[in-house]
């Protein structure tokens, strides 16, 4: 009996920071196409199907000639890319969040060789969380601890129903845990958000906070927790009575956790919103057990932070221009650099700043040579001067990824890489060799 479809089990999904490790993928052996995905959420499932051949999947290297993308050989594309990088005076290597750790390590190596700027998507996402942790520490945990112990879960500025679809069913809400044997009924879910999100709609308590006023609300909660009577009747749209009730709920729970997201990091105050949230969690440990976990967006942005950290001492927004790594978000962060038009060439890996950066910064990004290491046609790669077609990590090549709680998991290869695509790791290795050659090493 000839096998027509192969099933790969325990597959790690390469989409969001929940990094679900229980997917099952069926691949048609004859056509090498994904035919079914089980256990994944809508987005993860779609990512596997989108790996199949299509008009927006790159399979050959491209160089922009006379305004059009023209197919070229790998040698020509790598040569042109290396040329751009070596000739640049202030090159930026950005992205790295949707690929595996070996490739991220190559990125550090290449940035150091070029005395370049090195950054990953944390810069526009949870960078503020890292800044806050550097100032005031953090009481973290793994998701397994939450699943087994947490009876009070707060989602602050985070909407997992939309952004981390299986988080609630695998770790934070509906699942039965060792000490939470009745699952959902053993947990108290609180959502703080300016909108009555779909996550808020299935929570036990919803607190509506005014946009850009989260900091004041958390300060009020902390002051009440310290035993102060406040002068005001209402803070950030929340009544003092509700604040006092919340403080009692938090003090009297068995094991609490705050999951927080872009609602804190991308609104005014940024890292200070996270700073005070971390302090609140630490201060609650005078009464009970409380922890917090940032809801990381990309499936391996935490890995990019880890790899950059153990190689350079810093997690993102790094500058090698003086021959050693320096760190300063605001000065060496990608969007700020682009807004000052300080970058004169960029290498974009496993990310899509064209879609996700503010328009004014993308305008400056496009003014200078752009190399994209990317599997699909995106608003970044469509305008790149060189496209280096990548195999998709977690689908077409193996590697390590770090979950939002910094647990490393192994990504599986479920199908062969299509066309002439190479893994991000191999592409970066070839670039490093070529750059070395051109620098005369």
């Amino acid at each position: 009996m000839v096998e027509k479809v192969k099933t790969i089990e325990d597959v790690c999904c390469p989409f969001c920071g929940t990094l679900c490790d229980d997917l099952e993928v069926d691949v048609d052996l004859k056509t090498n196409q994904v035919v079914e995905v089980r256990n994944g959420c809508q987005i993860g499932t779609k990512k596997y199907f989108a790996a199949n051949p299509s008009d927006h999947r790159y399979t050959k290297p491209l160089i922009r000639k006379d305004g059009e993308h023209v197919e070229v050989s790998w040698d020509e594309a790598i040569d042109k890319a290396a040329d751009i990088l070596v000739k640049a005076q202030r090159p930026l290597l950005y992205g790295f969040s949707s690929t595996e750790c070996e490739a991220q390590s190559r990125g550090v190596e290449l940035a150091e060789m070029l005395n370049a700027l090195l950054d990953n998507t944390a810069s526009v996402c949870h960078g503020p969380s890292l800044l806050a942790i550097q100032d005031v520490g953090a009481s973290l945990a793994t998701l397994g601890e939450i699943k087994n112990r947490a009876d009070t879960i707060i989602f602050w500025g985070s909407n997992p129903v939309h952004a981390h679809p299986r988080h609630l069913s695998r770790y934070s809400d509906f699942i039965r845990g060792y000490f939470r044997t009745d699952g959902r009924n053993d947990r108290n879910i609180i959502v703080v958000d300016p909108r009555y999100t779909h996550t808020a709609q299935i929570a036990d308590k919803y607190i509506k906070v005014n946009p850009n006023e989260d900091y004041e609300l958390i300060q009020a909660i902390r002051a009440v927790l310290r035993g102060s009577d406040l002068d005001v009747k209402e803070v950030s749209g929340v009544s003092i009575e509700d604040i006092k009730e919340l403080v009692e709920t938090l003090k009297s729970c068995n094991f609490g956790v705050v999951f927080f997201g872009m609602g804190l990091t991308q609104s005014l105050g940024h890292h200070r919103n996270v700073d005070t949230a971390i302090r609140l969690v630490a201060e609650l440990n005078d009464y009970t057990k409380f922890l917090l976990i940032p809801m990381r967006g990309h499936y391996n942005v935490a890995g990019a932070n880890q790899v950059f950290l153990w190689n350079t001492g810093y997690a993102y927004s790094i500058d090698f221009s003086r021959g050693y790594p320096r760190y300063n978000p605001g000065e060496f962060s990608s969007v700020d650099l682009l807004m000052r038009d300080e970058v004169d060439a960029s290498l974009i890996v496993a990310s899509d700043p064209g879609s996700n950066f503010p328009a004014a910064s993308v305008k400056n990004l496009f003014k200078h040579p752009l190399i994209a290491i990317e599997p699909h046609k995106t608003p970044t790669s469509a305008f790149a001067d060189v496209v280096l077609p990548a195999a998709i990590a977690g689908i077409e090549c193996e590697g390590t990824a770090y979950r939002m709680d910094r647990v490393p998991l192994r990504l599986r290869k479920v199908r062969e890489a299509p066309g002439e695509t190479l893994s991000d790791n191999e592409i970066l290795e070839r670039l490093i060799e070529k750059v070395k050659e051109k620098l005369g090493e």
Binding site: A116, Y215, E216, Q219, A220, A223, G330
Partner: protein, 269 residues
Amino acid sequence: MDEIKLKIKKKLEFPLEADNITPDNFAGKTVAEIKKIPLYYATKKVKIGDFFDVSGKSTEVANTKIIIDGDLSNVKRIGEKMTGGEIEINSAVGMHVGNYMSGGKIVVHGNADDWAGAMLQGGELEINGDAGHYVGSAYRGFWQGMKNGIIKVKGKVGVESMLWAKSSKPANKWPTLYCGSADSFLGIHNHGGTIVVEGNVDRCAGADQAWGNIVIKGKISRILPSYKKVGEVKEVQLPNGEVIKGKFIEYSGDHTIKKETNGRLYVAA
């Protein structure tokens, strides 16, 4: 003062890092020697002579006055770690001006970019324009920032100015910021710094203040709920000996840190 004059002679496409432009590095050197002092431009190590015309000389650090002309808005780290002497900058200046300075005086006749006077240990930094974010603040990961010295900004200071400022009563060190107006999170994580604002201030002034004094002669857009009204005063006595006259409402805070605190915020009545 012995004057050494610098004039920038190139248009900058990238930032120029000028941490070696200090009275400490220039005193007692000839023009030829000064021209050889290294600076950093994008990824290249360059020399002062490549970017500046130089004239003048001085003997002692304390007597040295460096006057710089031309467009310096993208020149970073001027005056870094200086211990004495003076620098006068006749234009807007880039990031990190006067960082880690412990003595002497810098005057900027224009705006200053972010991190002006960061980690100040002493001396005086005067900015006759607006300043960017993080004026007189700590660098990333440091939990003690400005420890002494005076920063005067005529215009507005950006967010998180005086972050992690730390005073010392036994050592008689009172890090102080005077400014025209301020953006949000002024004096955040204050541990004894003194701040006097002539005009208005945005939200979250004094956030997580352990102790210190912030005096606002204008209005505050929204006072933190963790601050509590103490009363009204006719003048404010600052720990550095200065007295600010006027009617102020006195608030204690930040009560997120302590139930009873010596931290104070004064807002004009």
